[in-house]
Amino acid sequence: MNKFDPQRTSALVEASLKRRYRAEARFKLYGVTSIGIALLALVVLFTDIISTGIGAFRQTYIQLDVHYDAEVLGISDARNEKQLMIANVDGVVKAAMRARFPEVSSRGDRRALYSLVSVGATFDLQDELKQQPDLLGQHKTYWLLADDDIDSYFKSVQAGESYAGRVSEKQIEWVDALRDSGDIKTRFNRRFFTSGDSAEPEMAGILGALVGSLLTLAVTLILSFPIGVAAAVYLEEYAPRNRLTDFIEVNINNLAAVPSVIFGLLGLAIFLNMFGMPRSIPLVGGLVLTLMTLPTIIISSRAAIKAVPPSIREAALGMGASKMQMIIHHVLPLAMPGMLTGAIIGMAQALGETAPLLMIGMVAFIVDVPGGVTDPSTVLPVQIFLWADSPERAFTERTSAAIMVLLGFLISMNALAVWLRRRLERRW
């Protein structure tokens, strides 16, 4: 039989066709399955985080009639700063609670009753009095911040779930009474986005960590992008090919794979111990993250520079452009999208980094929102780590909420990267 008989060939092809199609279908199925698994994991993760964390965006408040009794407060002039400082606002809140539940008389019960309202309520009222000194001696109705345990209990009641936490039966009674009279409800938790960390879960906010992250990343970006791009340009365009540059290249590639905690140790040794910089500040955090991000930026920038078509370089050189003109006029603009992508990936990596920052003390409990790169602060992932470690039940939902904020931050950074790419990318 002739090997090159077209009829025989087509018969053979026909025969193998089904097998090939089956193999093809199987091959596709593997891919679809993998994507399915990844998606499922993602869905589970998000469902868990969102269902846990969504509660943190609402907070329980209790309505009370507050009497700014000058006697109880122990002050005569609300305009006087000094007097305000020592004013017994706490007493006013307690008095309001007593007035709401007059039947409570024993000391123990009273203490339990007082703990329905958070200490945060005291601070709020103090601020209120400071803003409106005329309120001294007046009555006013407020929605006061509830304690975290009451918050947790009330939210579970609202959701119709059973609750087994740190609330006594008396407290449950009172909450039920408040509920019957409509004096307890949940509102949007503004405090979560406007305040720093706190030991009291109901008062703890994410802003401090968010600003800390922003400052740290700003320092990182400002330092690592120019340094990384300059290093990449030198290595790609100017450096001669010899052992030294080969050595440098290998080391840069290796650095990208070094565990981040090592960079933390380096930062601790150099910036804190050698240069005596303060602990816990975004400046040092940024410096450490710069070291960590540099290899990523250098590698991706070199790749982007390499991807610039040689025809454009030749065109520029052929026109009599100097090497620097060629790089600045043509290579960098064309490589910019790639370099930015690298930088954003590096930034995203830096944003999620915890270990090196622990080493330089950015793990401290910091209540104040940082105002600059030299103020002590913490960052989002560290905050998440701290809250996840806290025993209070209400911190659990705050941890998830913080994760959502972190993810939101990441997504918006990536969106920015995509937008920048679109804007800067040019066809050639």
């Binding site: 001669p240 090919r241 078509p309 025809s311 454009i312 370089r313 030749e314 065109a315 520029a316 050189l317 052929g318 026109m319 009599g320 452009a321 100097s322 003109q325 006029h329 043509h330 603009p333 064309l334 040019r426 066809r427 050639w428």
Partner: protein, 278 residues
């Protein structure tokens, strides 16, 4: 022609002449090339070329792939500098200025000796900026109006003005291949070079675009010396006044184009242009 009578017709090396046959020298040379060799690392790509490029002539370089014609072309504006391992020896004098001199600044040289490449490579900028790039970096225009003038004149000379005058702000890459190549030529002539080197400028273009470029070449040759490397023998025959044939890194023959294509002096030239084995 008696050489074609012998039996070693297919034996290349036996027939490579010491010196290029024909008329490699000119009385009115724009560029005088003497004993030029090019080596990549230890591999010699061009061997001892002696050649005069006449003033305002169009000289075509033909030869099989890898014969060194492009490498040789790139010596003339020192584009080989960009390749680390490339070493050029010998003397290349343009109007008594030694081009192949390490101390010579290549920036002004490349303004005088422009280059057009095989693939149209406009910058990813607007048509206007493409043409204005050279004048800008060399500081040829002080005012915007002067620059406008240079851009218009260059585009007109490149025969592109009427096609692009209404869309100068559009990217150069939005043009068709032939227009892009003419844009590249406009960009080159915007710095008024004395010599233009063309490295297979039409290899990516269709016959009509090619014809337009060829027409442009003959117009430019009124006051510009043009050295063109081409794989198309018909193109060499159409545009050039002299033709140089390279073979395995050696210049084999230089003669008036008419002679090369009707009655070449060397059998290797003959074998190449008639499509024989060799």
């Amino acid at each position: 022609m008696s050489t074609t009578m012998n039996d070693t017709f297919l034996d290349d090396n036996a027939n490579i002449p010491e010196q290029a046959v024909g008329a490699p020298f000119s009385d009115d040379a724009k560029i005088a090339i003497r004993d030029v060799s090019v080596a990549y690392a230890d591999k010699k790509a061009v061997h001892e070329v002696d050649l005069d490029i006449g003033r305002n002539e169009v000289i075509a370089m033909i030869g099989p792939s890898g014969c060194g014609k492009s490498t040789f072309l790139r010596c003339l504006n020192r584009m080989n500098d960009t390749i680390d391992v490339c070493r050029v020896t010998g003397s290349i004098k343009m109007d008594d200025i030694e081009i192949n001199d390490g101390k010579l600044d290549v920036v002004p040289l490349r303004a005088r000796v422009g280059m057009v490449f095989q693939k149209p490579n406009p910058f990813p900028k607007s048509i206007y900026d493409n043409v204005a790039y050279g004048p800008r970096i060399h500081g040829l225009a002080n005012r915007r109006s002067e620059l406008d003038d240079i851009v218009e004149t260059s585009l007109r000379r490149a025969g592109l003005w009427n096609e692009v005058k209404d869309r100068l702000d559009q990217p150069g890459t939005s043009l068709s291949g032939g227009q892009q190549q003419r844009l590249c030529i406009a960009r080159t002539i915007a710095v008024s070079p004395e010599v233009i080197l063309m490295d297979e400028p039409c290899s990516a273009l269709d016959p009509i675009a090619t014809a337009k470029i060829e027409e442009l070449i003959s117009e430019l040759s009124n006051n510009i010396t043009i050295v063109i490397v081409t794989h198309s023998m018909q193109q060499a025959a159409r545009v050039s006044s002299r033709t140089a044939y390279f073979h395995m890194g050696r210049l084999i023959e230089v003669n008036p184009t008419q002679q090369v294509f009707t009655n070449p002096d060397h059998q290797l030239t003959e074998a190449y242009i008639t499509g024989r084995f060799g």
